[in-house]
Amino acid sequence: MSPSLHTGFFEDEHDLLSAAKECRERGIPVVDVVSPFPIHGLDDVLGIRPSRLAWVTFLMGAAGLAFGFGLQYWTAAFDWPLNVGGKPLDSLPAFIPVAFELTILFAGVSTVVALLLRSKLWPSKQVPSGLESTTDDQHALILAQADAAFEDSDFTELFERHGAINSQRETEATR
């Protein structure tokens, strides 16, 4: 049997934040937080490390830049050298705009693709029911029962003390 999950619903994100802090101090595992907007300061409490998406952006941007210059240089100076108004075949300054645009294009598209892949988001992906209010105005703090001594009523008490408006218990993982 999977450990039971306890979800507390909060209207103010700061109440949730203080509840999450207490959980961290007392060693109660926080399974997840689901909220209608990003809660600032939560990453530190939950120990979420900064995203490494910027690396994808940087590397793919560099790839775009290399591809941009490579494509222009190869087509204009090697594959079919064409004399345009007596300009040199490797007209580097004239190649900057297109190389720049391709840098941005590669970096931007791959950032979005990486975000979707890493967050496992895709069209028509099904979402578990029961948390509909978290896309409206409620923030859900989902805790797992790791210690048998910490009973259901203790969870309810913890949520209420921090100003939760509602709480529920589940055995099935909502994730």
């Binding site: 689901v34 294009l105 931007g108 979005v112 979707l116």
Partner: protein, 458 residues
């Protein structure tokens, strides 16, 4: 109750997050108003009339336009530059103001970005139909073809346009859609039946877990950081279409910054036009407040003043350069056959926005609306003046000519506006017009500020 700050709140009406969801989703869930139907019909009529003209031109040929050997660019490129320019304000609001942490952007960024996308679509139409044989449009892309392979000329500013506009459209669309995902999830969770299925498809299974939000915010900042230099590059490249040519009146190094600021100017004027209509018809007065409108008015005055400075710099340099051709062109602009266009441009762009210095003007919504239209007329004429007056007097006096647009050309102008407003009105009806997840955190802050103040007073 004492207000903690002298600052006017960004969102008025003491709303709670649930109110935001309800207010923003209600246009999607209810029946549209009569005003919406009236606007939509008008836009469709414009689209149909313009579409007929465009179809006739494409099937018959470029000869249906009033262009001649001397004036090879007219309404087509004017419309192209005009619409690309309109788009720039959307990116500026969503990307640049995000990087500068300007919170007032949150009420208007969604619709300004939509405006960008639709404006870039409209802009793309004109070079496309100007090709004369648009069915060969794929020739502008460098792909291994059976003609050699004959590659495109990467040294041409016109080709840079293909890459600049293409990238701009793609990145703007992605940025806009990524920004929409959490709000589409909100709509999904309120919907039933087929609507739920559709929004489930569109919202990518978004839940809003802490880890996803963290990653999501990083991605948004990265996209903003990419879009900011991109938007500057786009109109710089567009201006290179002119600046890299040796035509007097075009061959100027001031063109890239002059075009970019002009684009921001016209775009903000269009944002003002659309927002004033949206807040009235969609009842978004609590979201798009006088504070937002004042801020946009100030941006319009600021950018309008820079545009005025650019006009005068151009004229000064024409005299200072000692080039008789340059000076001739500028004298001709002010007193030649197109002087009426020049003075329309000057009064609409340089003089009219200065009225926003007066608080009384900034508080008069009808006047703001009219002035925003005036600026857009002026900015359309700016492109017309730059293109047509520079071309119609060639180096050889025997090549001098005039230019009169045909009805078909006017039809292509109507087509752009028809398409733009059709798309925008559909957007108002089917997409959450205000970024709910960005507005909601602002409310809490307001609420806490008030509670804090009340406690202190007590």
């Amino acid at each position: 109750m004492v207000d903690a700050t002298l600052e006017v709140p960004l969102i008025t009406g003491d709303l709670v997050p649930a109110d935001v969801t309800r207010d923003v989703c209600s246009p999607l869930e209810g029946k549209p108003t009569g005003l919406w139907y009236a606007g939509f019909c008008l836009a469709l009529v414009a689209l149909a009339i313009g579409g007929t003209a465009v179809l006739y031109q494409v099937s018959t040929g470029i000869g249906t336009w009033g262009l001649n050997r001397t004036v090879g660019w007219g309404f087509d490129i004017t419309n192209f530059v005009f619409w690309v320019g309109i788009g720039h304000a959307g990116t500026l609001i969503s990307a640049v103001l995000l990087l500068f942490r300007q919170k007032w952007r949150t009420s208007i960024n969604r619709s300004a970005e939509a405006m960008t996308i639709f404006a870039v679509i409209c802009a793309g139409i004109y070079p496309f139909i100007h090709m004369g044989r648009p069915w060969l449009a794929h020739w502008v892309f460098p792909y291994p073809n059976a003609r050699g392979p004959l590659w495109v000329n990467f040294r041409s500013a016109l080709l840079w346009d293909v890459f600049a506009i293409g990238t701009y459209f793609t990145i703007s669309l992605l940025f806009w859609y990524v920004g929409l995902i959490p709000d589409l999830a909100t709509v999904r969770d309120r919907a039933k039946g087929v609507r739920k299925k559709i929004f489930n498809l569109l919202s990518f299974g978004w839940r809003g877990t802490a880890r996803t939000w963290s990653r999501y915010e990083t991605a948004c900042v990265l996209l903003a950081a990419l879009a900011t230099p991109l938007v500057v590059s786009v109109h710089s490249v567009v201006s290179s279409d002119f600046a890299t040519a040796v035509i007097p009146g075009w061959h100027a190094t001031v063109f890239p910054p002059y075009f970019v600021i002009g684009a921001v100017f016209s775009g903000f004027a269009m944002v003002l036009t659309l927002m004033l209509v949206a807040r009235k018809t969609m009842r978004f007065e609590n979201y798009i407040t006088m504070r937002h409108i004042h801020a946009i008015c100030k941006v319009v005055t600021f950018t309008g003043s820079i545009v005025g400075l650019a006009y005068m710099t151009e004229f000064f340099i024409a005299w200072y350069s000692g080039s008789q051709y340059e000076l001739f062109i500028f004298k001709n602009r002010m007193g030649g056959p197109f002087a009426w266009a020049y003075w329309t441009m000057f009064s609409c762009n340089v003089i009219a926005p200065q009225l926003f210095w007066f608080r009384k003007v900034r508080n008069n919504l009808l006047l703001i609306f009219l002035l925003s239209l005036v600026v857009n007329v002026g900015m359309w004429f700016e492109r017309f003046v730059i293109i047509v007056t520079s071309l119609h007097r060639d180096f050889l006096p025997s090549s001098w000519s005039g230019y009169t647009p045909t009805l078909i050309e006017v039809g292509s102008l109507v087509f752009g506006f028809g398409l733009f407003f059709t798309l925008f009105l559909l957007f108002c009806r089917f997409v959450p017009m205000i970024a709910m997840f960005e507005v909601k955190p602002l409310l809490g802050k307001r609420k806490r500020e008030l509670q804090q103040t009340n406690r202190e007073v007590a």
